[in-house]
């Protein structure tokens, strides 16, 4: 589903070259739930933005759903983002001027979908996250957890092949975070491929697989013993 090989991302200024990702390799299979972990500044979010075609990379190869994406133009990248990828952001990123229904509709509009199909998908997605009754509410009228659920509904409405989540519970209190995490697990059980960036060992423990990044490279989890231990602890404490 998602395969990066020897991928690099360099930010260049006149005097400095900074490697955000270096010789980066990852392979996520269809239906997997992968947690990408690592300390702040390790390159997690850069990985996610490149994976989501929000940013280009400097070297290496990236195949998404079998397509090599390095040569795609801006329009093609937009189309793939729209059709194949669903995003869930830490800050929810709902559009404040639009109500819940219209927020979920945004990606469907860009796909050129007819109104009846849009409506059906939106209501199904809102139903799935338990917010069908809040369709006419505005983001400011919802709690943080509810806003993130709307964002998940927006990501799901287009039936993407890949869900990319960036610290999806980072802005939520524990109870709300648990609810959102359970929703993601449920979506995964239904067959979705999910790549989630987090620095929270408890969340990482609930994924099928952990990929740990330090200094822009994938490393063995054992190279970060404290985090490794924290994940183990979390797994041991997990009711499942």
């Amino acid at each position: 589903m998602l395969k990066m090989t020897h991928l690099s991302k360099v930010y260049r200024t006149e005097v400095v070259e900074t490697y955000a990702l270096r010789d980066f390799n990852i392979n996520v299979n269809e239906g997997e739930f992968v947690a990408v972990t690592g300390p702040s500044g390790s390159g997690k979010t850069t990985f996610l933005t490149i994976a989501g075609l929000l940013e280009t990379f400097t070297g290496g190869q990236y195949h998404l759903d079998g397509v090599e994406v390095s040569n795609l133009n801006d329009n093609e990248r937009s189309r793939i983002r729209n059709e194949k990828i669903g995003f869930i952001f830490q800050a929810f990123n709902l559009i404040p001027d639009l109500n819940v229904f219209d927020n979920v509709e945004v990606p469907l509009r860009y796909r050129g979908m007819k109104a009846p199909e849009r409506k059906e998908r939106i209501m199904n997605a809102l139903d799935r996250v338990g917010l069908a009754s809040r369709a006419k509410h505005y983001p400011a009228e919802l709690s943080g957890g509810q806003q993130q659920r709307v964002a998940i509904a927006r990501a799901l409405a287009g039936s993407p092949r890949l869900l990319l989540a960036d610290e999806p519970t980072g802005n939520l209190d524990t109870q709300m975070a648990r609810g959102v995490m359970e929703l993601l697990e449920e979506i995964h059980r239904e067959g979705a491929t999910i790549v989630m960036v987090t620095h929270d060992p408890e969340l990482a423990a609930r994924a099928q697989r952990n990929v740990h990044i330090i200094d822009g490279q994938v490393v063995d989890l054992a190279e970060d013993p404290r985090f490794h231990h924290a994940v183990h602890q979390a797994r041991a404490n997990s009711p499942a």
Binding site: T45, T49, G52, L54, E55, D74, N75, S78, R79, R81, N82, E83, F87, F89, Q90, A91, N93, L94, I95, D97, L98, V106, P107, R109, Y110, R111, G112, A115, R154, D166
Partner: protein, 440 residues
């Protein structure tokens, strides 16, 4: 596609409601800029239009230098002819159609003795006048060449005068009395008053009241009717004390027009004028080389400055003001659009192409333009009342708020605003979704 267009309009309306102050500033900026331009354009349009578009390239004014270089302004011959030269052109008959004219002012005596006499202003001219200038008739027609020669007291009156004297009935064949002479009416014109009155730039105000009567030139001269318009007797200003010296002196007071259908005819006529001037020189009347002109309607109006300079200046100033307003709008739109960079980042992440962003934000700008256009219409309407403060009343009254001006106001407002929005929209479309999302 159209669904997305209306969706973008709805998004635009929502966004504009969100910042009412900013929106109002933009709308006012566009509205005032467009209104200033439209008011001055209405005046400019009224005074700069082609008064006879179907024939303006075929109608020419011959000018002959009968006074010599010492009396000429910038080397140009006088704007009219004296009687001698004017009649010489008529007798030579080198153009398919030709006419002379001078202004007359006659006292009309109504049949009804209870009514007071009144002044009617018009022209003494030749029969070709009506065909050359495509004068439309309500009743009857102009007189014929025979009546030019026989100096018959016939008259063509305007629709307005016919209304005043005969209640609008067909008066052809009836008589009217002017200056104690009886004239037989042969035709009644429709309301016809080209602006500017290109055929008589010499005699009077090009935007004056319409002519009411037309009588045969030869009859008017035979009756010794003095011109009611201008004359120019050169720097010494002597016009002579008697009719004979007025008629055969060098004062200019007759406007001449010829209709020449082809460039070859125009060239031949120029050569004829030069030949005529050489003949006059050989005869000892002119002691300077030929200095003639043959201008068509457009060149004639330009030469006569038919478009008042203040009209051009005010239009330029107003367009400058519109540009300043648009620059202001660019700044306001840029501020408004860039405040929405996070939204743009999200939309791009969710699959919006740059073209989608362009469409959304240009639609929003178009709505600002439309609202600015509506405000501009209101202000243009108000401005029409204020034109008289800047321009002469005769010019100010020409400016009209018609359907074409209404449409033009809206189109200019929308087009100008969308144009102004290109840079802010381009900036909006350049927003990198990754950076916007990372910064969150």
């Amino acid at each position: 596609m159209s669904g997305m267009f209306f969706h973008n309009l709805r998004l635009g309306a929502t966004s504009l409601r969100r910042n009412p102050l900013l929106t109002a500033l933009m709308i006012m900026s566009i509205g005032f800029g467009v209104a200033a331009s439209m008011v001055t354009y209405a005046v400019f349009r009224a005074v700069s239009g082609d008064p006879i578009p179907q024939k303006s390239a075929q109608l020419f004014v011959p000018q002959i230098d009968n006074r010599g270089p010492q009396y000429n302004r910038h080397g140009e011959p006088p704007d009219a002819l004296n009687y001698t030269d004017a009649m010489a052109l008529m007798r030579a008959h080198k153009a398919p159609r030709q006419t002379l004219l001078f202004q007359v002012g006659l006292s009309v005596m109504p049949d009804d003795a209870q009514r007071m006499p009144f002044k009617a202003v018009g022209y003494a001219t030749f029969s070709d006048f009506f065909n050359m200038f495509d004068v439309p008739f309500q009743y009857g027609q102009g007189w014929g060449p025979g009546q030019d020669e026989s100096r018959e007291p016939v008259v063509v009156i305007s629709r307005a005068l016919n209304q005043k004297l005969f209640g609008g009935a067909n008066s052809v064949g009836r008589e009217i009395t002017m200056d104690d002479r009886h004239y037989r009416i042969v035709g009644v014109t429709e309301n016809w008053d080209p602006k500017p009155r290109f055929f008589d730039m010499f005699s009077g105000n090009a935007y004056a009241m319409p002519a009411q009567v037309y009588i045969p030139f030869n009859y008017a001269v035979a009756q010794r009717f003095d011109t009611y318009g201008n004359n120019n007797c050169g720097s010494d200003g002597k016009r002579g004390d008697d009719w004979g010296s007025w008629l055969h002196g060098e004062c200019v007071w007759v406007s001449a027009w010829v209709e020449l259908d082809t460039a070859a005819q125009a060239e031949a006529y120029r050569q004829y004028l030069d030949g005529y001037a050489r003949e006059q020189r050989a005869a000892g009347r002119f002691n300077w080389p030929p200095n003639n002109r043959l201008r068509d309607v457009a060149a004639w109006l330009d030469y006569e400055h038919a478009v008042p300079p203040e009209s051009r200046i005010s239009l330029s100033l107003a367009l400058g003001f519109l540009v300043i307003c648009l620059v202001n709008t660019i700044g306001l739109l840029l501020a408004k659009f860039m405040r929405r960079a996070p939204e743009i980042g999200v939309r791009r992440a969710l699959g919006a192409s740059r073209a989608d962003i362009y469409r959304q934000f240009l639609a929003e700008a178009g709505m600002v333009g439309l609202a600015g256009g509506v405000l501009g219409l209101v202000l243009t309407g108000l401005g029409m009342f204020g034109i008289g403060l800047v321009f002469e009343p005769q010019i100010a009254q020409l400016a009209r708020m018609d359907v074409s001006l209404v449409l033009l106001t809206l189109v200019v407002a929308i087009a100008a605003t969308v144009l102004a929005a290109f840079y802010p929209t381009w900036r909006a479309a350049q927003v990198q979704p990754a950076w916007q999302l990372k910064s969150n």
